[in-house]
Symmetry: C5
Subunit: 321 residues, 5 copies
């Protein structure tokens, strides 16, 4: 599906372009074409390939999705794959966007979950002095929008971590908490895998001598690079904390176990001692003089209660109850 396809001159939108006419437009000087597609079918991609003269292998990748983030150069075209990320229903949802950039065109192909790039295009069109730098700037604007989507996701994951910490040290929902730690780790690995190749991609965009990326546009990619490094660092930080959380969780479980064992032992003593005393006076010996004394029953009962109270307070003080 084609979302938008337009012709630009000096950073200003000139006209909407029909897919079949693209190759004509590309022949005009000082023009560039920006086409956005969402999950295009085979036929559409074939047309795009012939109109822009793209390489077989790149088109195959764009069709199949499930690529890892990467940057590849084919003769005079740049092929960039990025992963988009969104948080839906407490889960990390991944999508993909592919870019083909030439000196006078930029093609974007969206797959799966992602924001729409209509707003990005609108923002670019509102700053023609920047967009006039060519498709390289459009690439920057799109990549910047994608990378900005990572921050809310990571903040949400960091909030999850804080909640997990809270649960660990206040002993709530143990069973769920272990699962939460595990699934948070899973999500962090997903984000990590999406964001870590970005650093290399930006590095190459900043350094490569690509004639379709304007020299003045390069510092902008450094900005994205910087964001990618920060996101990466946030993810690594959370992962390391999560490992410590998993271990702290295990320690807290063991501490609880100790406390359970101690409380059980304490109560067992409080029940066992009277049972033992009662057993002794339940023996059937003929000559047990205290059995026939008048006050021995209340004395024994009160004595037993006394022993139990003594034990109770001792256990209480030493943490065995």
């Amino acid at each position: 599906m084609i979302v938008d396809c337009a012709e630009y001159c000096d950073g200003r939108r000139v006209a909407k372009v029909d897919v079949a006419r693209i190759s004509e437009v590309l022949k005009k000087p000082n023009r560039f074409v920006w086409i956005g597609m969402q999950e295009p079918d085979d036929a559409l991609l074939k047309t795009i390939q012939t109109e822009f003269g793209l390489h077989d292998l790149a088109i195959e990748d764009a069709l199949r999705a499930h690529q890892r983030p990467k940057i590849e150069t084919y003769a005079d075209t740049l092929f960039v794959v990025l992963r988009t990320v969104q948080r839906k229903d407490g889960r990390v949802d991944l999508g993909e966007t592919h870019f083909f950039v030439g000196h006078n065109f930029i093609v974007t192909v969206r797959h799966g979950s992602s924001i729409t790039y209509v707003d990005v295009r609108a923002r670019c069109e509102s700053t023609p002095h920047l967009l006039s730098k060519g498709p390289g700037f459009a690439l920057y604007a799109l990549m910047d929008a994608i990378v900005d989507q990572y921050f809310p996701v990571i903040n949400a994951l960091e909030d999850d971590l804080t909640e997990i910490e809270e649960n660990i040290f206040h002993e709530k929902l143990r069973r769920d908490n272990t699962a939460k730690i595990y699934y948070l780790k899973r999500q962090l690995l997903d984000v990590k895998r999406s964001v870590s190749p970005l650093i290399d991609i930006c590095n190459r965009l900043m350094r490569f001598d690509l004639n379709f990326i304007d020299q003045e546009t390069k510092p902008y990619f450094r900005d994205i690079y910087d964001h990618a490094v920060r996101i990466n660092e946030m993810v690594d930080n959370s992962r390391e904390l999560l490992s410590a959380a998993l271990e702290a969780n295990l320690s807290m479980i063991s501490i609880t176990q100790n406390e359970v064992a101690k409380r059980f032992a304490g109560w067992a003593a409080l029940i066992g001692v009277p049972t033992m005393i009662a057993g002794i006076y339940g023996m059937n010996f003929s000559y047990m003089p205290e059995l026939s004394w008048q006050w021995s029953y209340p004395v024994v009962v009160l004595g037993t209660i006394g022993i139990c109270l003594f034990l109770y307070f001792r256990f209480k003080r030493s943490g065995w109850l």
Copy 2:
């Protein structure tokens, strides 16, 4: 055992070639020979060596199998070893394929478990414009087929991991589950060891100035490189998750232990309290006035039941039962 041996011209199969006549064919211009063997014996390999003029050490490797994936250059021959992988009966089954590539020949030697390369050869023969690029393209097609075999295996391992997760957090088959985690780790390490040298191999095929690999064929190796990187990433991801799973498993076991201890303590109290009370009224003191009261028996029994019910509900609420 020779599977197939043919002579190609301009990407088209010309004729089946007899092993003994290979050296003659190699003298013709614009021809290349493609021979496929499966677990050849010493004698056959010797013939092959003299026909193609291969190096002693490479032939020795091809005979012994159990090599690690590698790429080696001998004067004018390229020697490549790859590990093939297949999933059989829930186990990862490894095989090996060795390639000798010269400017006008390609020799493949299969050992152990692997797919047959008859289909690959058929596919190549059906696209003569690609196969006309020479033995380099045949090498690509074979390597691509081998690498594609990794994806279903890894998907199966990922499914195993998902099942393990399920078991961990729903507490099923604990004992088997720990063994499963361990053996999954084993299999992942096997796959890892097979696939990680591939990245370096592809890198060298892409960059080396090998005169028998056509310049146009090189981007194709980048495609395999890409797959190798992805497989590697998937394996690493699964390994990291597996480590977390092992720890989560231990946490869940400890939590269960806590629950067992609590339930045991709860029930012990519910049995211990009536035993204690009964013991008290089993004492043989002469002056225990309540013993002779008419209603004391039902009162004591009902009182005990009351205490037990009270304990039961308290324990139930606080999670000790």
Copy 3:
């Protein structure tokens, strides 16, 4: 908010400068301007940008704060971001300082928690022979002051670690201790993230051929580099010890659990044995000759006490009590 803004000539303060007049001053030869700001608003930064001719992207960073430590060069300006660190109420408090350095100016922008740089400026003004080396020396003096703030923080964290160790091996406050280990790890990661990019920053300041950093000033940056490496090492050391502490903590918890179980078992035997003996003599068989013997009661009681004492001392010796 502008803290101070002055004009320097030959390392000596010449006059306070009004923000609006900065660009005039910059035109004079042999002068440099040093301006310090704290959390400036948008308008002020815009003025600063036009007066000094700074790059859009750097100004954007300086406004938003929450950057990671970095060094960037824009044409003829150096942009440096550092994290400042302070210990408040047992927590690590992070701030940020941004520097813009040109051949005749230095701009500092403070965000969040940090020391004031008034003292640093005073110290620099008291050594005009050093300050005469230009804004590069001012940058060194400021960075040195920031890095020196790290040492007391890390010493405090190391003291926390020593206290934790003490608690682990003397079994105090188990529950709090685990949380303390975790939160100490958190703080160490914060410090680590702030200090580790410093090494690279200093490296670049030492090696880059930046015309506004005097050749003689470079060894001074090596001094900061050295401090950064040492801080980094101290943090890594503490982190590794902390991991070992977490594991040792778990071991100690398990050992305690063992001891609890043994003591419980010991006491259970001491209560269970008399109960069993008493039960036997509480049986109602008609022909139990010992029941009617005169001394059997005291004999049984004393015998039971004897057995208990025997068990008590045996358990005591073998560590089961």
Copy 4:
């Protein structure tokens, strides 16, 4: 002790050489001397040093042993140290061999446990066309023999690991098994430390422009390099599996603990319930009508047995027995 000392010409043994005459032989053209020693004393090494003109530091190393594997070049001599490894009585036994290689001599010094090199020399002498390549080939042959000794050792260690796995998942000999895991780790570290420097050594032998290593001999060192990489990989693999095994072991211990606790709880209930019921009918109340009923005794006993059977089967089904 000198094992053998001979003079070679064109790969053929010419004569046994007396140590004192070595320097004379070295002056003849197209000859090389191969001397093998075992734990030589100070005096012998001094003689060797003067005869061959070796460096002080290298001789010192050769005397002291306990070097790590390394390669060093002194002017026109190559000094190589390798660790030899053998399996004796279930333990890894390490030895050392030192090589001095010049353009017309090779000196080997054996320390500690290792195979004898008499066979290697015999094999070399049987292939004069290879040995004629000079001392470089002799070095290859010796290194190859040493590296080949690693494989049986690692296979034995891998077998140990398999046995450990078996024990872990079939719960045998827990106590011994933990010790076995630990000592296997120890042995793997020993082998690792011996074999990992080999990779670098071979790399340097393959790449260095050493005039006493024939160009044609270099691919042979690639063969050893390959073996070293494989051994290294096998060791790393085993180490990673061993770590997982240690964790799996702990999990299995905890699972067993759970099962012990459950079984104990189940049996405690089966004993506790009849005790409680018996206690109740042991109370001495005057008005307990059921005490005097004729069938109440068998009814109570049968009832108790019924309850116990019910509990028994319930526990059995739910895994508490």
Copy 5:
């Protein structure tokens, strides 16, 4: 405090030099000055600085101590910091030594625990042919002496580890053992931090084109490099074993816990069963015919003993006692 200060010519001691006269001596050709100090005060260091013309920053470092091992070059002076290590009362005691080396002088500054360098100087003076190579050789001799001090310390730490292993697998002193493991880790990290920068320092001494280090002296630094690598390797090895030991320790604790639980369960059954049987015959039913049989008492008692013996031997065999 000045330990010794002398003038050397051709490797022979010429005369003791007064500090104030050093600059005069330095003007003579073919002479070099070797001065050793221990914890010098500010004034002395100032004198030294002016006499030798040393850099401010290096002198500041030499005064403050607590530097990390490093090598720095200032114009024509080399500044080296090493950590010295000694074992005192079962603890690792760290010191520092700083070296200033110029083409005609060497200054050593000792801080904290270390051996005296009087012996090293004496040994150097006894080999004038070596010392005549200049201050570079003196630097080697001193560094060699420092590095040699590491071996006995590491051997002591390795002995500690062996003792810990012994304790783990023979279950002695659990509580102390965990603390010992932790503090051994601490000491290993201290040594590691002192020794690992040495590798880089030696590397730079071997490779740098420093005109005051004689070309012939360089192989000697390779010798120190070699020792540093070995020490580093020994420390890493011990650290890895220690981690495994910590885990093995935890496993052994858990195994013991299992055994405690089993033994407790076994004995509980041996006490619980007679209690239950006795309880049954303690019931007060009127019609319990066996109560009045003459032999029922001994039969029940013997039966109970029989059951207990049966359980005892069964438990014994299955490891529950």
